[in-house]
Amino acid sequence: MPRQSYAEALVDALYDSLAADPRVSLIGSYVLGLGPQRHLMERVRKAFHDRIADPPTAEAGAAATGIGAAMAGVRPFVDLGTGSFPYLAWSQIVNEAAISCYMSDGRIPVPVTFHLLHGVRGGGAAQHSHSPQSMLCNAPGLEIVAPATAADVYGLVRAAFQSPNPTVVVSHAKLLGIESDVPAQKQSIPIGQAEIKRSGRDVTIVANSFMTQLSLAAAAALAEEGIEAEVVDLRSLAPLDETTILNSVARTGRLVVVDECPLRCGIAAEIAAVVAEHGFGLLQAPVVRVTRAQVPVPYSPPLEAAVTPDAAKIAAAAKRTLGARA
C-alpha cells in the first residue's frame, strides 16, 4: 500500500477539490503553516492561481467573506491559520455560519470549509497552541472533523467541500509530517463516522487528531505487556459517532478518552457523558480522561510536556481502568 504524509494528502485533497468543482476557491493558502511541508502547496497555487487569494491579516473579515460567498452559492475554503486565530472570527463562525441554515428554515445553507492548525506544536506558548474544537462543538450547525491520518484527511476534506454545511477541519501541527498508508485511489469519507484504528478486547481508547497517533503508540506499548487496547478514532467530532464508541465499550467494558482540548467541558467530557448516559451498564471500571491540563500552555519544553497528553500517560490511564497501578 502506498504511503503519504498527512500534509501531502491534505494538499492532494485541496488540489482535487479545486479540479473537481469550479465553485471551489481558497481564501488563504498557507494551510501548512511555517513548517517544512509548506512548499507542497506550490503545486496548488500554480494550477489554480485564479481561484486562490491570500487575505490580509483579517481573520474575521476572511471568514465572513467565505461565509457570505457560501451563502451566495459558491464553495470557499477559508484557511484560518493557527488554532488561536479563529477566536478573532468567532462571531462569524458560531454566530453566522453555524446558524444560517437553521434560522432560515433550511433556505440558506452555508457550504464553507474552514481549516486550522491546532494543538501543542512545540514552543507555541499559550497563544499559539490552541485546540478550539471543543468550544466549536458547542455551536450547533457546524460539522467538525479532526483527522489523524493521510487517508482520513484526504477523505474528510473532500467530504467537507461536498457538504452543504459549514465544516471545520482541524489539523494538528504535529501530524503534518507523519506518514501513513493510503489506498491507491483515495476516497471521500463520510463525515460523522468513527473508525476503529486498532482492535483490542481489554480497553477502549477513544481519541482524535494527533491523539489517535499517540494512542496507537500507547496501544503498541500496552500490547507488549499483554494488554490489548482498542483505539477508536473519532475522525469527526460533530456529528459524533456515538454508536461506534458504545459498541466498542460493550466489547471491552473499559474506557479511556484522550483529547488535547482542555479538561473542562472538553470533548473527553462529552464522550464520558455519552457513555455514562447510554452505556453505564457496560462499564466495569470508571472512565479515565487524558486531556490537556486546565492551564494555559507554557513555553518551556518540560512545562509544555507536563500539561500535554503523551503515549505514556495514555498507557498509564489504560492500566488504571484495568486496576493496575499506573
Binding site: A58, T65, G66, A69, P76, E96, C101
Partner: protein, 339 residues
C-alpha cells in the same frame, strides 16, 4: 421635477415607500398589542434609501441587510404577509418563524442570511461580492447597514478586503444619526469620533458618495452612479445616505410619536404640527416625495390617496394573513440544524 427622475419612476417608488410605512406602523401596533415578543427596529424615515437602491438592482444581485431590514425586504419585493408572519413567529413566515424581525430575508430574491450583529452584515455582504465576482455574471452585492455598524472592527476588515480585491460591493451606510449637519464637516453621529463616515471607507481607497437619504431623487441618482461603477469592475463603492432619525426610534422601544402618517400633510390639506412638525415637514421621505409629486401635478392628491388606500389594504391583508397563520409545531424545533 428638476431631479433626474421621471414621474413614471417616482410614482412606483412612492407606492413602495407607502407600503413600507404602513407595514412598519402595523408592526408597531402589533408589538404594542403584544402579538409578538422581543425587540425590533423600524425603517420609518429611511424608506427612500431602500426603495431607490432596490429599484436599481437586478434579480441576479445579492443583498445583505441588518436588524433594520423590514424595508429592504419589502422594497425588494417579498410578500408582506409572509414577512409579517415571520415577525409574528408563524409557520408561514419567510423563515417559518425561526428568524423573526431581526433576520427577515428572502434568498430567492438574493438575500444572504440577515445578521443582527451590526458589523457582521457588512462582512457577509463582502462575501456576497466575492461570489458575484467568482461567478462572473456581472452581479454585485448590496450591503445595507447603519452608522453604528462601523463601530465594530470587522467592518474595517471587510472594507479593506473588498477594496484590496476590487469586489463588486455597494456599501450603503444608512446614517440615521440624530446629529445635525455641519457644512463641510460631514454628518456627525453619536457613536463615532469621526464626523465623516465616508473618511473610513476613503482610508482604504474606496470611492465614496454622500446623499440626503430622505430625498429619493438624490439617492436614486447617486446609487445609479455607484452601481454603474461597481459593475464596471472598479471595485466597491461606499454610499452614505443621511437621514434625520424618526423621533419614534429615539426611545428604547419604538413609539408611535408621530401617529399614523397622514398623507394630507403632503397635499396641503393638513399642516404638520406639534413637537415633531419639523421632522414631518422636512425629514419624512414619504411626505417629501409626495409633496414633490403634488407640486408638479394638480391631480396628485387623489392619486396619493388612492395609492395610500391600496397600501393600507395590502398591509391589512398581510396582518390578517399573519394572525391567521399557525405557529410552527414544537417538534420542528429540532430539524434543519444541518442542510
Amino acid at each position: 421635477m428638476s431631479q433626474k427622475l421621471s414621474a413614471d419612476l417616482a410614482w412606483p417608488m412612492l407606492e413602495k415607500m407607502l407600503l413600507i410605512r404602513r407595514f412598519e406602523e402595523a408592526v408597531l401596533q402589533l408589538s404594542n398589542d403584544k402579538q409578538f415578543v422581543g425587540h425590533y427596529h423600524l425603517y420609518i424615515g429611511q424608506e427612500a434609501t431602500g426603495v431607490a437602491v432596490m429599484s436599481l438592482l437586478e434579480p441576479k444581485d445579492r443583498i445583505a441587510t441588518t436588524h433594520r431590514n423590514h424595508g429592504h425586504v419589502l422594497a425588494r419585493g417579498s410578500d408582506p404577509g409572509r414577512a409579517m408572519a415571520e415577525i409574528l413567529g408563524r409557520a408561514s413566515g419567510l423563515y417559518g418563524g425561526r428568524g423573526g424581525t431581526l433576520h427577515l430575508g428572502d434568498p430567492e430574491l438574493g438575500f444572504l442570511s440577515t445578521s443582527g450583529i451590526v458589523g457582521g452584515c457588512i462582512s457577509l455582504g463582502v462575501g456576497g461580492g466575492y461570489a458575484c465576482r467568482q461567478r462572473q455574471e456581472g452581479a454585485l452585492s448590496a450591503v445595507f447597514f447603519g452608522d453604528g455598524a462601523l463601530e465594530e472592527g470587522v467592518s474595517f476588515e471587510a472594507l479593506n478586503i473588498a477594496s484590496l480585491w476590487r469586489l463588486p460591493v455597494l456599501f450603503i451606510c444608512e446614517n440615521n444619526s440624530t446629529g445635525s449637519w455641519a457644512p463641510g464637516q460631514g454628518y456627525p453621529t453619536l457613536v463615532h469620533a469621526s464626523s465623516d463616515l465616508c473618511s473610513i471607507a476613503k482610508s482604504v481607497n474606496i470611492a465614496t458618495m454622500r446623499v440626503d437619504g430622505a430625498d429619493v431623487f438624490a439617492v436614486h441618482a447617486a446609487a445609479s452612479e455607484a452601481i454603474a461603477l461597481c459593475r464596471s469592475g472598479q471595485g466597491p463603492v461606499f454610499l452614505e445616505a443621511v437621514t434625520r432619525r424618526w423621533p419614534g426610534n429615539n426611545p428604547l422601544w419604538p413609539e408611535p410619536v408621530t401617529g399614523p402618517t397622514d398623507m394630507r400633510m403632503a397635499t396641503g390639506e393638513f399642516a404638520p404640527g406639534g413637537e415633531h412638525a419639523d421632522w414631518l415637514s422636512h425629514h419624512d421621505p414619504v411626505l417629501r416625495l409626495a409633496r414633490t409629486l403634488a407640486s408638479h401635478d394638480g391631480g396628485a392628491a387623489a392619486r396619493i390617496a388612492s395609492l395610500d388606500a391600496a397600501a393600507r389594504q395590502r398591509i391589512a391583508d398581510a396582518v390578517k394573513f399573519a394572525l391567521a397563520s399557525p405557529f410552527p409545531a414544537a417538534e420542528t424545533a429540532f430539524a434543519r440544524v444541518f442542510a
